[in-house]
Amino acid sequence: MANMQMQQLKKNFGNIPVIKGIDLDIKDREFICFLGPSGCGKSTLLRLMAGLEEISSGEFLIDNKRMNDVPASQRGISMVFQSYALYPHLTVRQNLAFGLKIQKLPNDEINSRIKEVARTLQLSELLDRKPKILSGGQRQRVAIGRAIVRRPKVFLLDEPLSNLDATLRVSMRVELARLHEELQATIVYVTHDQVEAMTLATRVVVMKDGAIQQFATPLELLHRPANVFVAEFIGTPKINLFKVEVQECGPQSITVTHALFSNPITIPIAKDIKFAAGTELTLGIRPHRLSTKQPLDCTISAKVTIVERLGTESLLYTDLGLETLVICSAAGTVPINRGDQITLGFSSDNCLLFDDHDQAIERCLPADVQLLIS
């Protein structure tokens, strides 16, 4: 069993707070991603878990045992570094054996573990080579192998795919998912790439400025983002945001207006919240939820400035005089060109509403989403 808890975990570098009170509860065998922009503290948090940095205050537990003062090698943790950090003067075999020799495991045990790992990661041919002559992908597998061979309870990975080229990254993502299945271990994975997080993780920790913004499954993050930051960070292309004005609040609904909307739109919400008329809220609509075809609850008239044809979808960028372009994603190839005047429509149950502090107003999920999220 390898569950982990963080209680009000804080880390200061000198006088500068970098991790500002993190509470986290990770269950055994989850695949957790720490996701966020650079400088948000995700790597620092990982290093605190590994024992490479000292915890300033708060508690960190693995299997209900306090780990704050336990040396890194005794925490039952393995780490794959961003730079792989292989020992350059040792062969692959010696790299894998290094930690095991320190633990004074018998040679038979060491050899059998190395054999097994080499088979799993297809390293058997490379065992007697030195890291210098291996390719990036091979080195990464050696780094993963070195982590696996210790049979840890928890795997920590620090941006493991960021040094690989695009095709390799895709195949390694599949590898990692397979490994998670095979090893049945808890994995904590740091990345700034939301596609990686969304495809690999069971749950994602979205971080900003040393604090957790939301800790939820990928689907939750996409459809029920806790605040504007999460809504903007997750989802490609980026969500479209509008500053709307409250017209009136009904029982479990809010009606808002915007200069560019064809009509005021009433959005169903989960709880009963009252806002004064005229309050400014933020309304978000994902590009996939804007439609060029059917007239829906509300429409916006727009002129297309850029068309990106990606095969499976076409991205239509429209300039509405707002801060950012409003993007619409249409399936397949559409007969719309630059300069065309189009009408974008959306329905009320696809709108995300955020209050005047950028926090999400709980909404009613549309039917198709409700099936996915339990």
Partner: protein, 277 residues
């Protein structure tokens, strides 16, 4: 047309000039080896010889007779060898500490070590002698020569520079693997900086082998003298045996010339990186 003529003339000029300079530069070494193989009467005669003779072993016998030169070479090997090995260890441990740890007093200590580099070594000789020979009683003792050499600051400086360039994550990986601080240093950090160790080692070895003043002060008996001292003693004799002396000079020098041929790259690397302080 004009261009290729002047450039060919230029090429000829450069090559001819450099050839003259190189020949002049090689003469001392070449003549040393020539004279080592001729009896002294040939040397005295003033005739110009450029070919090796046959008297090498005769001259060597004279050399052995006068100064037990093979013993002197042995002493040089012991002293230079141990000074280098111990010096590398001490300097790399100190350089590692300065490069990879943050601790109180680190900057002041480093400044002090840099300061050492500015003080001429000749100035230390007198008090060093009093302490080592008179107070510690280490005259005619290998330790008496070797120990002061270990206080050399160049090595610490050089190794610190090398350790600064180590990737932190590799050391952290070893830490995660459960390695002790010493094991991280000895099994991971040190092997990675092996080229630097090699360069420094060669420079230290040559410097210690060639040193004249300090070993001369400590090793007063003929049994413990080093090769340079033995050569120096030959000068002091009433009748200078030139051929024998050239044999001594050759034995001292030729191995290092060969070493230079093989390890030219490392030696030059050591000098240039040490120079960019």
């Amino acid at each position: 047309m004009n261009n290729s003529l002047t450039s060919r003339a230029k090429k000829l000029f450069i090559n001819a000039l450099m050839l003259v300079i190189s020949c002049m530069w090689l003469i001392p070494i070449w003549m040393m080896m020539i004279y080592a193989t001729h009896p002294d009467n040939v040397i005295f005669s003033g005739e110009l010889v450029f070919n090796p003779g046959t008297d090498f072993f005769k001259n060597f016998a004279i050399l052995q007779g006068k100064q037990d030169f093979s013993m002197a070479i042995f002493n040089s090997v012991i002293i230079a060898g141990f000074s280098t090995l111990l010096g590398l260890l001490v300097a790399s441990m100190a350089g590692y500490a300065l490069a990879r740890f943050a601790f109180r007093g680190r900057n002041s200590l480093f400044a002090l070590i840099i300061f050492i580099l500015a003080v001429p070594s000749a100035a230390i000789v007198i008090p060093e002698y009093i302490i080592v020979v008179k107070h510690m009683g280490l005259s005619n003792n290998y330790a008496g020569v070797i120990l002061p050499y270990l206080a050399n600051a160049v090595g610490v400086f050089f190794m610190r520079q090398s350790f600064l360039n180590l990737p932190s994550e590799t050391l952290e990986a070893a830490y995660l693997d459960g390695a002790s601080e010493w094991k991280i240093f000895y099994s991971i950090a040190l092997p990675i900086v092996r080229p630097a160790l090699a360069s420094l080692g060669i420079i230290l070895f040559v410097a210690h082998w060639n040193d004249y003043l300090w070993p001369m002060l400590v090793m007063t008996s003929e049994q413990y003298q080093t090769a340079p001292i033995a050569l120096g003693r030959l000068i002091g004799l009433a009748n200078i045996e030139w051929g024998a002396m050239m044999v001594g000079a050759s034995l001292m020098t030729v191995p290092f010339l060969l070493l230079f041929l093989i390890l030219q790259k490392q030696i030059i690397a050591g000098i240039t990186s040490g120079a960019t302080k």
